[in-house]
Amino acid sequence: MNIFQTIKSSLTNLAANKVRSFLTMLGMIIGVGSVIAIMSVGAGAQSLIFNEISSFGTNLIGVMPGGSEEDAPPASMMGAVITTLTYDDAKAIGEIPHIEAVTPYSNGNANISFGDKIKNINFIGVTSQYVDVEDNKVSLGRFISPEEDESTARIVVLGSEVKDDLFGEDNPLNKRIKIDKTSFLVVGVMQKKGASLVASRDKEVFIPVKTAQKVMLGVDHVGLIRAKVDDEKNMSLVNSEIRKLLQQRHNIKDSKKIDFTVRSMDQALDMIGTVTDALNLFLGAIAAISLIVGGIGIMNIMLVSVTERTREIGLRKALGANKGNILTQFLTESIIITFIGGLIGIIGGSIFAAIISGVAQYLGYDWDLVITPFSVILSFIIAVLIGIIFGIYPANKAAKLNAIEALRHE
């Protein structure tokens, strides 16, 4: 039997019922399209999160208050206030070899005002080394100086957006603003960082950590310590050095009672990767359900087609077709439906994913358009497999028809 003639004949049959063929394909188009789109959007969102985190630098180590299980987030991330980390811990960590910079964080929320303009913002108490840790720069004026680290100086460095909101085009340097009721001198403005998933640094203001602790919050602890390591290959060494140091400083003998958590950036990336991968898989599986629904639609139409074309089947048998030929004929048709539907779905899904990423990039997010060959090949293979699985029953029914009864069929 000639396969090209079979394919040509199948295409003729499908073209003869254009609307029906298209509607049958639609199930495949939507199914494959949504699998492609969801996998791509998922990968794009993942890239956004990764890019965001990596933009802080990948050789960062964070120390959070409160112990934690391996791979689980520390208690402090769940909202509990734990007071075990201090400014002196951060200073001591800074003494460890291979650490280039370290800063504690002491954050709070407050109303900031200049003249009649009031805004609710997050203030972040850090030390002078913050700019090295997070790879951030001032665009105007200066950052907190090392001399001010130990002081409770009332100085503030504005995020670029805060500056725009309060001062517009005016020069904010040496102006006095109020954070809650305390007056601060503006000494600098940060460079614009761009849109961010978590919290935009552009919408925050920076003050010395001691000022945040003593003046604004009235506490002795810090919420987080972040350190920058000189080279990624020293990460695990520094990681264990910090553990050792803090265990000693906090006087902890029993490792089960450790009251802090040390996490490096790659660990965080791993953890987020695991979560987002699972989420992508889950969404992909939901999209795949529509593929099965599409497959059932194909089976339904092929069964109708077999009944409609009973006479043709009888004729083909009279002209020399054996069971295998008839089976192949109908199977070819259902595979062609899923094949073409799959192709259109891949193109449609990719276009959809491209639009999403285009919009995200337009809004300033660091969103990559990711369409992996894996997802394309996978959804394509699944589509064709569905053509075979759901086509085999109608095709077999056609092949088993009695030729004479089929020829007499009205």
Partner: protein, 241 residues
């Protein structure tokens, strides 16, 4: 002349629920290569069933059927399909053309099921045959654009395209007016003259007399098997050699 078909005591029963209907009750005859045989009988006589058995579409309940000396009842489904493809060409009363494809594609349909087929050669041959039956200008028409007589001529070409030993025609003129019917008979006679074996099922005496031999079937039995003494030559059509 060599024997093409040898039927021995062919019986065919159909079972509908508990009731068994005997359609053929022991049919025996031989047909030689190059014969033109008309099988006659009223409706329900079993002549169509006999034709389907002759064309390997149906298997008898009992009896023996030798084709070119080969015992066909021992062949499996695939082998029988191969026989239908290579050795037999069917012509139906209702043409059975596919309306959605062109005349040429209809004629080429049997080549789909040949084991080895040179498509180019087959198509050249098909075009040649279509020209011969006066349809050279209709290659790309749809069957429903043709008259009944023209459609049956397409069906004849389709039956011939694989160059079979035997042509089986089931009431080939049954749906046609007398003029078109004569055209068809003229083509069949001409094919027979070239040495092709033709078996035609009909219930019209007038049509049957175009054959060289008439076998009468009644109630599943052969009641008469005679040579036509003076074959009626159909001469009405535009068919030219």
């Amino acid at each position: 002349m060599s024997t093409l078909i040898n039927l021995k005591n062919i019986k065919k029963d159909y079972q509908t629920g508990e009731v068994v209907t005997s359609v053929l009750k022991g049919v025996s005859f031989e047909i030689n290569n190059g014969e033109f045989v008309a099988i006659m009988g009223s409706s329900g006589s079993g002549k169509s069933t006999l034709m389907y058995i002759l064309g390997f579409l149906d298997a008898p309940t009992s009896g023996e059927y030798y084709f070119e000396g080969q015992d066909t009842l021992k062949l499996d489904d695939d082998k029988l399909a191969e026989f239908r493809s290579e050795k037999v060409g069917f012509i139906f009363q209702s043409y059975n053309l596919r309306q959605r494809t062109s005349v040429l594609d209809n004629v080429m349909l049997p080549t789909t099921y040949l084991r080895n087929c040179n498509l180019k050669e087959a198509e050249d041959n098909a075009v040649k045959l279509l020209k011969r039956v006066g349809l050279g200008h209709r290659l790309n028409h749809r069957p429903n654009q043709l008259s009944g007589g023209e459609q049956q001529r397409v069906a004849i070409v389709r039956a011939l395209v694989n160059n079979p030993r035997l042509v089986l025609a089931d009431e080939p003129t049954g749906n046609l007016d007398s003029h078109s019917g004569e055209e068809i008979m003229e083509i069949l006679q001409s094919l027979n003259k070239e040495g092709r074996t033709i078996i035609m099922v009909t219930h019209e005496e007038y049509t049957a007399e175009c054959a060289k031999r008439i076998i009468h079937i009644k109630d599943g039995m052969v009641t008469e098997d005679r040579i036509v003494e003076k074959q009626r030559m159909a001469r009405d059509g535009e068919f030219k050699k």
